[in-house]
Amino acid sequence: MLDVTHPRTAPNHRLRRTVGRGLLYAVALGVLAVIIVPLAFAVLGGFSSTGQLVVDPVSLPDPWVTSNYLETLGSPNFWKQMGNSAFIALVTILLVLPASSLAAFVIARFRFRGRNAVYALFTLGLLFPVAVAILPLFIVLRQTGLLDNPLGVALPQAAFALPLSIVIIRPFFQGIPRDLEDAASLDGCGPLRFYWSVMLPLSRPVMSTVAVLAIVTSWNAFLLPLHVLIRAEQWTLPIGVNNISAQYSTDTALVLAYTTLAMLPAILFYVIAERQIVRGILPKGALKG
C-alpha cells in the first residue's frame, strides 16, 4: 500500500514491498520506544534506589527496591490527594452533564429568538483557557469564600468544560428524529419528560464521551488547583506530584514512585475508556481497526 506500484513494474514489486514493510515497522517501533522509554523509566526508577539512579539511570533496578512504592502507598497525603482529585472530578461531571445537556437540548430542539446567539456565545468559550481568566477567577473565588475549597476548582472547571460539551452534544440531539418528539407529545409527554425519558437514554454514548473528557481534564488540571487549593490537605494529585518533585528533588526514586502511582489511575482509565476518549475528538464512524 505504501508503494502504489504500476502493474508494469511488477517484478520489483514484491521486493520493494518487503523492504517498505520492514522500514515501516522499524519506524513504528522506533517511535514506540520513544513513547514507552520515559514511562518505563518512571516505573522502574521507582523500584531503584536513588543511589543507583544517580550513578546509572539506565540499567534495570539492582537490587529491586520496593520501599519507595510502599512509602508512597503508606502515605496519608497520597491517598488524601487521590480522594480530592476524585471528588473534584466527580463534582465537575455532576455539574457539567446536566447543565450542558439541558442547554444543548434546548438549543438543538427548540426554535427561539436568540438561539444562535446563545450557541455562538458558548462556542466562543472554546477559546478561553483557564490561564486567561485565572487572575479574576482567583479574585472571584476569594470574594465568594471558595478559595481552598474543592468547589472553587470544580465550579470553574465545569464552566470551562461547558463549551466543548455543548458542541459535542448538540448535533447528537439534533439527529434524534422529530417524529419521536411529536409522538411523545401526543402521548402527553412534556419537554422535561421527553428530555429525561427519551433523549438521555438515547444519548448514552455521547454523554459518556462528555463525561470521560471532563474527568480526564479535571484529573489532570494544574493551574487552577495550584492557585485555589492552598492548604496541603486540599491538594489534588498533580499539585502533590509537583510538590513532591520540588521538595524531594534529591530523592529521585521516591519522586518517580510517587509520579508512577499518580499516573496509574489515568492509565487505567484510558484502558477502560479509550473509545470514549478517542471518540470525543473524532468524527463519527471514523474509529476503525
Binding site: T123, L127, A131, A159
Partner: protein, 316 residues
Amino acid sequence: MTTVKERETTGTVPARPRRSLRRTPWPVVILFLIPALALYCLFVLYPIAQSIRYSGYDWNGLEPLTQWVGLQNFIDAFTEPEFLEASSHNAIIVVLSLALQIPFALALAVMLNQQLKGRALLRTLYFAPYILSEVVTGVVWRQMLRPGGFLDTTLVSAGGESLVREWLGDPEVVLYSLFFVISWKYFGFHMILLMAGLQTIPGELDEAAAIDGANWWDTFRYITLPLLGPTIRVSIFLSIIGSLQLFDLVWVTTRGGPINASSTMATYLVDSAFRRGQFGYASAVSVIVFVLSLIVALLYQRFVLRRDLEGALTGA
C-alpha cells in the same frame, strides 16, 4: 463567532415547516438554559470581563481599584523585553509545531493507515501520553533530561558524548527540549485526528490513481493531501491555540527558566500576578493572550469553513 443571519437561512436545522407551529415555550427554554448560562457567565464570561477591567489599573490584587492608568499596562507589556521574549517563545513553539510536529503526526497517520499488523495497539500507545497530565509528563521528563540522567547516560554509552547538552539548563537549548516534550505528549492527538481524516478518503481514488500510473508520492500529493485539507487545518488551528496558551508543562519542567529562556506568555502572566503582585499588568497580558487567540480563531473562521472544526470536535 457565528453570523446569525447566515445560519438562520442555511442553518443546520432543516427549514421545512414544522407540523405544529407552536409558540416558543419560553419558560422551558429559559429554565433549561439557566444552569449552563449561570455557570458560564459567573466563571467564564465575568472573569474575562473583569480581566479587561483590571487591565486598565495599576493594581496589586488587594487594595481597592483606584489607580486608573488607561492603556499604560499594554504599552508597558509591549515595551517590556521579558514579555516580548516570552511571546517570541510562544511563536517559536507555534512555528516548530507546524513545521515538525504536524508533518510528523501526518506521516505516522499515513503509516498507521496501511495494513500494518498491530496498528490498533500502536495507535493506542502513541495516543497514551495525551491522557497523562502535563505535571506527570514534566516531572518524568525532568528526570530523563537532567545532567547525567537517562538521556545523557544513553548518549555516552552509545558514543555520542559530544551530543550531551544541559537539556533544561542551557538557555540556548531549553526551548527545543521543551518542544520535544510537548511533541511527545501531543503528536498522538494530531495523529488520531489525521487518521480519522484519512479514513474518510475513499480507497477507490488511490486505486484509480495507481491504474493511471501515479506513484506513491503523486497519490499522496494530489489526492490524499488535498482531501485531508480540512483535517489538517483543524490540527493547525488547535496546535496554534494550544501553543499560545502553553503553561502547565513549562511551569513544572523549568518554571520558564533558566533566566526566562523558556518562559511563555502564560508563565509570564502567572509570574507577574502571583509572585510580583502586578495584577493589573498581568491582566493586560491575559487580555493580549486572549485577543491573539481570538484573532487566530477569526482568521480560521474567515479562511476555513466552520464545519471543519465542528466536524472534528463533535462527531457530527
